[in-house]
């Protein structure tokens, strides 16, 4: 039986096939599709499971770990920067181990395409001493997700599965295996020396972990010294690769002329940490030189140790930033075999960067940013992670560090300026609802306690929009579609000790501008503090919200002077320059316009008009 699947759907399938019944995740590109796919497939095959969107990755990992403490098979799913959030639990779990099976899935984003960093989760595995699988294709991802779960159950330790974006969002025909139905009951065996280990016991657990990692590094199942197709004549150059980097290298090698290709042998590493010890030594003896191709940091290279014969990221044969491309591999092969570098006549044709992403037509965030700039000009706007990071295009964001940092940063801007007696410009933290739940709440408690003063501008579109509209705790919905309690943002904020809270519809621009101005005035009053303005309007990517929106007919009159103010200050994709117009006037793109009418008030010439509905 075969089925076309996205890499992420294949991972879900692999987990299901090997008896995973508990899955916890926080959405993040490129990992977001795994949890919904798991829930959907389980329901199709009537497998009883529990899947949940945790509020953040640390909670997801702690939850999945606890299920695996009771002998069940579980998974925690996140993107690579999510593993940073879950790091505290991750490193500790490596010592404690599990009695069931636990797969941690951390999806990397070399490039980066949709992340703050290009970090390599395999490096995290090496740091934490957690075995890691690196799948190369969607088909292999299904297989390795299952292998990871079985290995975890076998060695009693968590195992990491590290896909990269190229795999997560690749689509391929997958051979399906049968699904193991795990009807085990959870059984928690009290072992305080293990589950609540004190430092003395931790040392013993660490020693035990070292032994298990050493055993894996000698396990013949992970010996990679036998290549898929060994040439008959000995080849001078060996290439060691894992994951998508292996797939890419394999395709490049098969595109080379035969006489060139036969100088190379490609070896595939399934388990980059712990690296099989003997295989590395064998290949060093077998070949004159070795090239290591891996993404995005030199994890295999590090474990092979410093060797004259090895080239890769450490000696600059492969650049140490950016995603791998066929051109990089071709260049690396030429450097390895000391052949002339491939001429790249196309390089200067690789034209200017393309159109940058921007907020969707009708996005309530656009209206919120426009109001923020009007209400609090010359302010410092501390931003956060989500669709609204695109506020940078509107010149309405000054920082973007990591999840929840807008609130800590706005607080610290206040403290820094106030303690030095400097002038304090309007200060705002701009954060979305999902990010606020993720890690904004502790930051708000901290800022209130410290006595900071700023406007917390909470853009509540009642969803996790950037990653594909996963529900938040306020939605009253859970990952599996069941009804849950709808938590109130206002009550949570009140509970953090905030007294000044205003809720406004961002489409009501004048009200929003007034609310933001009043909020900042409150911040600066002698007994003021943090004022919260919640801009509440649903994301238009949610079909129901889109349906509920009244579609207005928008036209741009001849009063348009082509000044371009609307394009710059509002940047709606539906506002475009007229084609072949000498005055470069603006028109409405009927394909993208959703008819929200929010652009009408933006035009200084009043040329944007509502002409019908």
């Amino acid at each position: 039986m075969q089925q076309v699947m996205l890499g992420n759907e294949a991972i879900a399938r692999g987990l299901l096939e090997k008896g995973c019944t508990f899955i916890y995740a926080y959405p993040g590109t490129p990992s977001s599709e795994i949890l919904p796919a798991f829930i959907e497939q389980a329901s199709e095959h009537a497998v009883a499971i529990h899947g949940h969107w945790s509020v953040n990755e640390k909670i997801a990992l702690e939850s999945a770990f606890t299920a695996a403490m009771t002998g069940l098979r579980s998974a925690a799913v996140m993107k690579q920067v999510g593993l940073n959030v879950a790091a505290d639990a991750f490193l500790s779990i490596a010592y404690l181990g599990v009695t069931g099976g636990l797969v941690v899935i951390s999806a990397d984003d070399p490039g980066p395409n949709s992340s703050q960093t290009e970090q390599d989760s395999r490096m995290f595995a090496l740091f934490a001493k957690v075995a890691v699988f690196d799948p190369a294709t969607p088909q292999e991802a299904a297989l390795f997700a299952g292998r990871a779960l079985e290995l975890s159950a076998e060695i009693g330790l968590p195992v990491l599965l590290r896909p990269t974006a190229t795999l997560c969002h690749a689509r391929q025909n997958i051979s399906l295996k049968s699904i193991i139905r795990d009807s085990r009951n959870p059984e928690f065996v009290r072992q305080p020396q293990r589950w609540a280990a004190t430092p003395k016991h931790r040392l013993q657990l660490h020693q035990k972990l070292n032994q298990k990692m050493l055993a894996l590094a000698c396990d013949p199942r992970f010996d990679f010294a036998d290549a898929e197709s060994r040439p008959t004549a000995p080849a001078p150059y060996g290439i060691i690769a894992s994951g998508c980097a292996w797939a890419l290298t394999a395709d490049v090698l098969s595109s080379l002329p035969q006489d060139e290709a036969r100088q190379f042998v490609l070896y595939k590493v399934d388990l980059p940490y712990p690296l099989h010890k003997k295989a590395g030594r064998t290949l060093l003896l077998r070949h004159a030189r070795l090239l290591v191709v891996e993404e995005s940091q030199p994890v295999i290279e590090y474990q092979l140790g410093p060797q004259e014969k090895i080239c890769g990221r450490n000696d600059g044969t492969i650049p140490n930033a950016g995603a791998l491309t066929p051109e990089i591999i071709r260049t690396a092969l030429a450097l390895l075999s000391k052949r002339p570098l491939p001429i790249n006549p196309a390089a200067d044709e690789a034209a200017a960067p393309g159109k940058r992403p921007s907020l969707c037509p009708g996005c309530p965030h656009r209206s919120s940013f426009y109001a923020l700039k009007k209400a609090l000009p010359h302010g410092i706007y501390a931003g956060d992670i989500g669709c609204y990071t695109l506020g940078i295009n509107l010149n309405a964001l000054d920082s973007c560090l990591c999840m929840g940092a807008s609130i800590s940063q706005a607080g610290s801007f206040y403290q820094t300026l106030a303690h030095c007696g400097a002038d304090i410009p309007p200060l705002a933290a701009v954060i979305g609802d999902s990010t606020f739940y993720h890690s904004g709440i502790p930051a708000l408690v901290n800022a209130r306690w410290e006595g900071s003063r700023f406007v917390l501008f909470l853009l509540d579109n009642s969803t996790t929009a950037m990653t594909g509209n996963q529900p938040t705790p306020a939605a009253g919905l859970r990952a599996d579609g069941s009804r849950g309690p709808a938590l109130s943002l206002e009550k949570i904020i009140q509970g953090c000790g905030i007294e000044k809270i205003t809720v406004v519809d961002p489409y009501r621009r004048d009200e929003l501008i007034a609310a933001l101005k009043t909020a900042w005035q409150y911040c600066m009053e002698p007994d003021g503090g943090i004022a919260v303005v919640i801009a509440r309007r649903g994301c238009l990517m949610i079909p129901a919200e889109r349906k509920a929106l009244q579609h207005l007919q928008i036209t741009i009159s001849e009063a348009c002077t082509g000044c371009g103010y609307c394009l710059k200050a509002f940047e709606c994709p539906a506002l475009i320059r007229r084609i072949n117009d000498p005055e470069k006037r603006v028109t409405i793109d009927p394909v993208t316009c959703v008819g929200c009418g929010q652009c009408v008030a933006v035009c200084p010439q009043e040329a944007i008009q509502i002409t019908g509905s």
Binding site: P30, N113, A136, A170, Q172, N173, A247, P326, E327
Partner: protein
């Protein structure tokens, strides 16, 4: 056994991902191996998007410079940015209201205006696909694409609209 490296370029929201899914569904029904890659996340918000479709015996979905057999472009602006991926002798087919430098005049069509005329604003991609499918470089024929659309449709209404868009595209002859 078809062997074709295909790059689809456009801007977020134009249905680039849908076209790559349609091609992989067609490949599946034709019994061909394939691997594709789609942009997700931040890149989806109206920015430049590409999908890569490799039909044949491939392991990685990535297409290198000067190696695509066929480049399909849904937004004219994306042609210049992606044409260096086309191999010598490869074909570019572009949705553009006007002719473009370095593009033979028979290789563009104004699918957007035609789709709007027929009130199919959301199916510009399929109008374009219907037109492009007539080109000899296109890996599958019109009937095969039709079957794949039928299989992928989530409702009869969508199926009707999509097939109509494809047919309208087919009537835009390749000059």
């Amino acid at each position: 056994m078809t062997d074709c490296k295909l790059l689809i370029a456009g801007q977020g929201g134009q249905g680039v991902v849908f076209l790559s899914r349609l091609l992989s569904q067609t490949a599946l029904m034709a019994g061909d191996d394939f691997i594709t890659y789609e942009s997700h996340g931040m890149a989806m918000r109206g920015g430049s998007v590409t999908s890569q479709v490799k039909i044949g015996n491939y392991r990685s979905p990535l297409i290198g410079e000067k190696s695509a057999d066929l480049l399909l472009v849904l937004a004219a602006d994306e042609f210049q940015r992606n044409r260096h991926f086309v191999r010598p002798g490869g074909i570019s087919l572009v949705n553009s209201p006007h002719s473009l430098a370095d593009l033979p005049s028979e290789n563009f069509c104004g699918a957007t205006a035609v789709a709007l005329e027929h009130k199919l604003a959301k199916a510009v991609n399929l109008v374009f696909c219907g037109w492009a499918a007539q080109h000899p470089a296109f890996p599958y024929n019109f009937a095969q694409i039709r079957e794949a659309i039928k299989l992928m449709a989530v409702s009869p209404d969508i199926e009707t609209a999509n097939l109509r868009a494809l047919e309208i595209g087919r009537q835009l002859s390749i000059r």
